[in-house]
């Protein structure tokens, strides 16, 4: 539990004790812990996270206002990382120890080592301040989201690339690949028709989970690029001890995360004939 009394925050330190009590009663923080909890659970079921303490508006409204931006950012980020990682990973695996493989290795090492906020700042300084290709602040157009999604996507791409390469290398060492060659298929068909299909299965699962993580990663990037997304909303809520907003935010993110995982599981079973049957 976060220490501190929200009633105190609202009323101010030198408020009268009776005022504080009144605020506590209004907030419900004077009731026993268990009661507070059960009431809250009941509200969550109705998608009612209560009212934000600082702005006085319903928490669900606040979240839904900000969510589209964060989601767009995360989806752009994951798309970008898939677009980079899968082709490069596959080429690295097919032509092991070639130029592409070394390039991929360099990329994944760098991508994993560089923190995304740092990359964000670097991109801002270079492309927004020095060359002014992209806008520095604000939101509203796709242009505002390009740099943030690059900074978010690069690190994820690094992870996905390694995974794609490993998965593809593993598939290429499987026995059915020998069969495919023994059938006289061209290397192209062996690689892209036979092996790739199986190699992508784990990659898709991980990419889905990454999408969930990216919602979390967005918090920092939104800060760097001053985007009015969920991240900034929650950060603000924590500073202000806006408990309903914090709780609502946590539950909402958890819900989205599980939903994504669920969707990935469904997708996986559609793609994998072995699971499809049961």
């Amino acid at each position: 539990m976060i220490p501190g009394d929200p009633a105190l925050t609202i009323a101010g330190v030198d408020a009268a004790e009776s005022d504080i009590q009144a605020i506590r009663a209004k907030l419900g923080t004077d009731k026993p812990m268990l009661n507070q909890y059960l009431e809250w659970i009941w509200d969550v079921f109705r998608f009612d996270f209560g009212t934000s303490l600082t702005s006085g508006r319903p928490v669900s409204d606040l979240i839904m206002e900000r969510f589209p931006l964060t989601l767009t950012l995360a989806v752009l980020g994951i798309l970008l990382s898939i677009v980079i990682a899968i082709p490069l990973g596959v080429i690295s695996a097919v032509r092991r120890w070639s130029f592409w493989d070394y390039l991929g290795m360099l990329f994944s090492q760098a991508g994993m080592a560089i923190p995304s906020f740092w990359l964000g700042i670097l991109l801002l300084m270079l492309l927004s301040i020095k060359y002014r290709v992209f806008p520095l602040f604000g939101s509203g157009s796709i242009n505002h989201l390009i740099l943030p999604s690059i900074s978010l996507g690069i690190a994820r791409a690094a992870v996905l690339l390694r995974l794609t390469r490993a998965s593809m290398v593993e598939e290429l060492s499987k026995e059915y690949v020998i069969t495919a060659r023994a059938k006289g298929l061209t290397e192209r068909m062996v690689n892209y028709k036979h092996a790739l299909r199986n190699a992508l299965l784990p990659v898709i699962t991980i990419a889905g989970i990454q999408l969930g993580y990216m919602l979390g990663g967005a918090i920092i990037i939104e800060q760097v690029f001053s985007l009015p997304g969920l991240g900034r909303l929650f950060l603000f809520a924590v500073y202000q001890r806006d408990f309903p907003l914090i709780q609502g935010g946590v539950v909402f993110v958890a819900f989205v995360f599980s939903f994504i995982n669920f969707a990935v599981d469904i997708l996986y079973s559609v793609l994998n004939p072995k699971i499809r049957i049961s």
Binding site: I178, G184, H194
Partner: protein
């Protein structure tokens, strides 16, 4: 020596090693094999003796490096396969020489339907349209005893039982009507009751399509059942070759007879089995002289120093042993 032009496949003195960090593995040490059309040649040997390397080298699928062909030739229909360009080998593979593997569950692509795996070959090698290819695949499913079943065609491998998978794999191998079929332990992973069915199927293929078949196995019982001629391989060398009858009834090489004696059956109950002491040498460490001498009951001094030459004992029965008269 006669130049035999009716041989479908003629392997002469094939010698292959694998170059690795811890030393070379001498997988094949000069083997000779011939297969003619409409004949089943069995290649018998224990694990690591070089059976798979033999069949993969016929397909041109032994990766070089790590492998290196030290010597030898592979004549298919009178033409050399070794050193053929990749593009040409690809046209032969699956089309003229096809292969069936040991474990159908592993050697079929788990995420492609059986139909797709068969038709892609017909489309590639015979230039059929998709529809023709599907029709043709159904015909071949029928040939291998699965019936003209669209259910099988639309099934993923894991939806079929082991025996059905192996039949599907055989259908895949024979659909382009190859003249040579390499079957690498096609029944080993199958249940006893299914083994026999697959053997029958292979025998009927020989008769209907007059294919030459290289049947690889480590089971002498099965080999006796199916082969016209048998070659026994030990540590990358053919130690005895003969017609089926001659090999089993007039065994020459001590290794072959030791193998035969070590098979348990009800008649030997109460007696100890004649086990072969020691174990199969690995290809990195092949004994001097006759490679079998550390395990051989007949071995003499000569055996540990001098490699026995392959000698012909008449009627195509040959063996490589100092002690065979």
């Amino acid at each position: 020596m006669t130049v035999s032009n009716n041989n479908l496949l003629e392997i002469k003195n094939l010698d292959i090693s694998f170059i690795q960090a811890r030393g070379a593995a001498h997988a094949l040490r000069g083997i000779d094999l011939t297969i003619s059309s409409g004949e089943i040649l069995a290649l018998v040997g224990e694990s690591g003796s070089g059976k798979t390397v033999t069949s993969m080298s016929i397909m041109g699928l032994v990766p070089t490096p790590p492998a290196r062909v030290n010597a030898g030739s592979l004549l298919f229909k009178g033409e050399e396969l070794i050193g053929r360009p990749h593009a040409e080998m690809r046209k032969i593979r699956g089309n003229e020489i096809a292969m069936v593997f040991q474990e159908p569950a592993k050697y079929l692509n788990p995420s492609l339907k059986i139909g797709e795996q068969i038709t892609e070959m017909l489309i590639l090698h015979l230039g059929m349209s998709k529809r023709q290819a599907v029709e043709k695949s159904l015909e071949f499913l029928d040939v291998v005893g699965l019936g003209k079943s669209r259910r099988v065609l639309n099934a993923y491998p894991h939806e079929l039982s082991g025996g059905m998978k192996q039949r599907a794999m055989i259908a895949m191998a024979i659909c382009c009507n190859p003249s040579l079929l390499l079957a690498d332990e096609p029944t080993t992973a199958l249940d006893v009751t299914l083994q026999l069915q697959i053997l029958k199927l292979i025998r009927s293929l020989k008769a209907t399509f007059s294919m030459g078949i290289l049947f690889i196995s480590h089971n002498l019982g099965i080999v006796r059942e199916i082969a016209d001629r048998v070659s026994v391989i030990y540590a990358g060398k053919i130690v005895e070759s003969a017609s089926n009858k001659a090999l089993f009834e007039n065994t020459l090489h001590p290794y072959t007879s030791a193998l035969l004696q070590s098979i348990p059956d009800a008649k030997k109950r109460g007696h100890r089995l004649r086990a072969i002491p020691g174990s199969v040498p690995d290809a990195e460490n092949i004994p001097q002289g006759c490679s079998f001498h550390p395990r051989c009951a007949l071995a003499s001094d000569r055996c540990s120093q001098e490699i026995p030459m392959t000698k012909d004992y008449g009627n195509g029965h040959s063996a490589a042993c100092h002690m065979v008269q």
